[in-house]
């Protein structure tokens, strides 16, 4: 399966937002893509549409030869069958579960959980519950939880916004090596150029609901 020739993901999506309409026709060339744009430009919504969380999305989404959405044919693969790793900006850790239980939620082996915790510097915190964590710790858990679900595509929404500078590059390197090991493409959205530099080979900007290459 190709890693750099493009063509693994293609999306034509139309989706009304509060004030504008998201209307993208998108075919990234590489496996690490950043979408940049100001707050409120619809980046997060685009990511949610890819994950299968926007029921009002129209158009087509194809990934690796599979069709996830084809509104003309009334086809929409539900979120639980798309196998995407969605890391929302607010982390959204399950508040009633410990970190260990959050990481193992998708059914990962205990050894895999331990290893992931180590790579994300979370080993000491495994028995805690999310409300006792800092924002940065939460983002790392959310990332680990998504990676442990063995996704085919990783969707990162402002993944480093709560991390200190030194930690950002450590975590970014970890994500890069993990996704290369597992041949997992990344789509990252951010308002911050620096995030894109850390992880993405290709950049797009989302302005007024349209996606343009940079």
């Amino acid at each position: 399966m190709s890693t750099d020739s493009g063509g693994r993901l293609e999306a034509q999506i139309r989706l009304p937002l509060d004030t504008i309409e998201l209307d993208v026709d998108w075919r990234p060339r590489t496996d690490t893509v950043a979408i940049l744009g100001p707050s409120g430009s619809g980046k997060s919504t685009l990511l949610r549409a890819l994950a299968g969380l926007e029921a009002r999305a129209r158009g087509t989404i194809r990934f690796d030869g599979a069709t996830w959405l084809d509104s003309d044919r009334d086809l929409a693969v539900p979120a639980w069958e798309r196998r995407v790793g969605w890391v929302p900006q607010e982390a959204l850790l399950f508040p009633h579960l410990t970190l260990r239980q959050n990481l193992a939620y998708a059914g990962a082996e205990p050894a895999g959980v331990e290893k992931m915790a180590e790579r994300l510097f979370l080993t000491e915190l495994l028995e805690r519950r999310p409300r006792f964590l800092s924002g940065g710790e939460r983002q790392r858990v959310a990332l680990g939880r998504a990676l442990l679900s063995k996704p085919k595509l990783l969707l990162l929404d402002e993944p480093f916004s709560a991390l200190d500078r030194p930690l950002r590059s450590l975590v970014a390197n970890m994500v890069r090596s993990f996704t290369q090991e597992t041949d997992m493409p990344i789509v990252l959205v951010s308002h911050d150029d620096a995030d894109a530099e850390l992880l993405a080979d290709e950049r797009w900007s989302l302005v007024a609901g349209r996606l343009n290459p940079e």
Binding site: P38, S39, G40, R48, A51, G52, L53, P78, A79, W80, E81, R82, R83, V84, G85, W86, P88, E90, L92, F94, P95, H96, Y105, A106, G107, P130, R131, G135, R145, A146, S149, H191
Partner: protein, 537 residues
């Protein structure tokens, strides 16, 4: 760009504080709402009566020249006709208040403004004489009535004598309440026929004789004992035999002038008119008999203070069992409806929502009547349930269903609120992790809403404890089976000797309600605290 972000942050902050004040307002509303809903209405009225009654001025003049007459409810068709005749013969206008004698007599005793009291039996009249609430020298027997045994008009067979009742295989037999004269006369009659002991367990007590008659007419019971005059007016029943003569008690209506009257002369004239030839014709037209002059047998009997033995703790225990049953029976439907209202959008959602919320505003008596029409023995569903051994009317199951239905809106609404506090993006994250809807519900939504669901259960429990109206219609008022706290209090209201038991029940009920409200409040707070961390970053 960073300025834009800043502004957005401010906006979020404003939204948040706005939401907080809404939450606080809701909190107040909820308390007021909950107290109003949970304390049994009958109980609240009792307490209000206890507080307010002594302040009534018993000497206040009746309005204008009208004579105020409190009379047994079995007279409500005939007395106005007699009063009209009296007005034609130079009498004054008469205002009536018809109710069960057992409810009216305590009102007269407490000083309700009245000029004339007409009882359906001698004992309640005697009770008032002893308390100087009526003038003993004015007590006069006015008319007589007879008890009859009625069956639904289309009943296949019917007993022809009281002695046959025991062998006739009647499952349910309706009588008026045990302190209502018609109910006591009926019991006396059955005792005299020697069949009471065998029938006692089949007896269902309606509040008034009209209530018992309605049950027979609707076919919910196999038969009942009512006054001949009532049976005459009801086309859906037929008289199987009468309980008169041969040593059966004579049903006698004595009248008297109330002690606090300010129209004594007029009141005496009215009583005299009722014994005169013109009124006697009206009474006999309606099926009443003429009372002999002088004292009557039932007045000569030694005074039995009307009382029923109501064990308050049995009522409390039963209330707890019924309320618990209602909570358990309603759990799955309430979670399903709460979830649907919180999470699903579909065409006609507001109509469905309104339907489920209706028991909150529809009078419980009407709710009870509707349940009876759906689950009564004559209905398809009720008949089926009856056939497989789960009869609903007049059983503890009926009491549980009544309490469940009436408490359901609170139950489902509280659970809907609990699901509303759960950010649905938690569910979305779970989906993207490969966990489908049903399993996500079990692993995420349900555990996160659990304290709120428990709060809803406690609220429904509290409401079930206070249920009265639907229960009395659907399940009757049967000691040990359906007589819950509210029903026991209502029965005790008609029994002047039961004041001690009454206050036990009042205190038990208020204590239980407040404990349940506290439980509801702390569970709700837990639900909010548990999740609030995730709304603020």
């Amino acid at each position: 760009m960073s300025e834009g972000k800043h502004n957005l942050g401010n906006l979020k902050h404003q939204k948040l504080s706005c939401r907080l004040s809404v939450v606080q307002t809701k909190q107040w509303l909820r308390w007021a709402f909950a107290v109003q809903i949970i304390v049994p209405q009958g109980l609240a009225a009792t307490v209000a009566l206890g507080v307010l009654a002594p302040s009534q001025d018993p000497t206040s003049a009746p309005d204008g020249e009208a004579l105020v007459v409190l009379a047994a409810s079995s007279l409500q068709d005939v007395l106005p006709v007699a009063a009209h005749a009296w007005a034609g013969a130079g009498g004054t206008r008469v205002r009536f208040n018809f109710d069960a004698t057992s409810r009216l007599a305590p009102q007269v005793f407490r000083g309700a403004p009245a000029d004339v009291f007409i009882s359906a039996d001698g004992e309640w009249m005697r009770w008032l004489e002893e308390r100087a609430s009526v003038d003993p020298s004015t007590v006069l027997p006015l008319v007589t009535n007879q008890l009859v045994f009625v069956v639904p008009r289309d009943a296949a067979s019917a007993p022809t004598t009281a002695a046959e009742l025991e062998r006739s295989g009647l499952a349910r037999l309706a009588l008026a309440g045990e302190d209502v004269p018609a109910g006591r006369y009926a019991k006396m009659a059955l005792e005299m026929a020697g069949v009471w002991d065998g029938l006692a367990s089949s007896v269902v007590r309606g509040g008034s004789v009209r209530g018992a008659l309605e049950w027979v007419a609707a076919g919910e019971v196999d038969g009942g004992i009512v006054y001949r005059t009532d049976a005459r007016a009801e086309g859906r029943v037929r008289v199987a035999f009468s309980l008169a003569g041969d040593g059966f008690p004579e049903v006698l209506y004595p009248g008297a002038v109330a002690a606090q009257t300010r129209n004594r002369e007029r009141a005496l004239e009215f009583l005299a008119f009722l014994r005169g030839p013109e009124a006697t014709a009206i009474f006999s037209e309606a099926g009443f008999g003429r009372a002999g002059a002088g004292a009557t047998p039932s007045l000569q009997q030694p005074l039995q203070v009307p009382s029923s033995i109501i064990d308050p703790w049995s009522a409390v225990r039963l209330s707890l069992v019924v309320a618990l049953g209602a909570v358990i029976l309603g759990l799955i439907p309430a979670v399903a409806v709460g979830w649907m209202l919180a999470r699903r959008d579909f065409f006609g959602k507001s109509v469905v929502s309104m339907l489920f919320m209706a028991p909150l505003v529809v009078p419980p008596v009407i709710t009870g009547f509707l349940i009876l029409s759906v689950l009564g023995r004559r209905s398809a569903i009720g008949g089926f349930l009856d056939g497989i051994g789960f009869p609903i009317p007049f059983t503890i199951l009926g009491a549980v269903i009544a309490a469940m239905v009436v408490g359901f809106p609170l139950y489902a609404m509280a659970i809907r609120g609990a699901f509303d506090t759960v950010d649905r993006r938690f569910e979305e994250v779970s989906w993207t992790l490969g966990v489908p809807r049903g399993l996500t519900f079990r692993r995420i939504s349900l555990p996160l809403a659990l304290p709120g669901i428990a709060a809803g259960a406690v609220l429904a429990f509290a409401r079930a404890l206070g249920e009265f109206g639907a229960t009395v219609v659907l399940a009757g008022n049967m000691e040990g089976e359906t007589r819950t706290i509210a029903l026991a209090v209502y029965s005790l209201l008609e029994s002047p000797s039961g004041r001690g038991a009454m206050w036990t029940l009042v205190i038990a009920s208020i204590t239980l309600s407040l404990v349940a409200l506290l439980g509801f409040e702390s569970l709700s707070r837990w639900q909010r605290r548990r999740l609030e961390d995730h709304h603020v970053h």
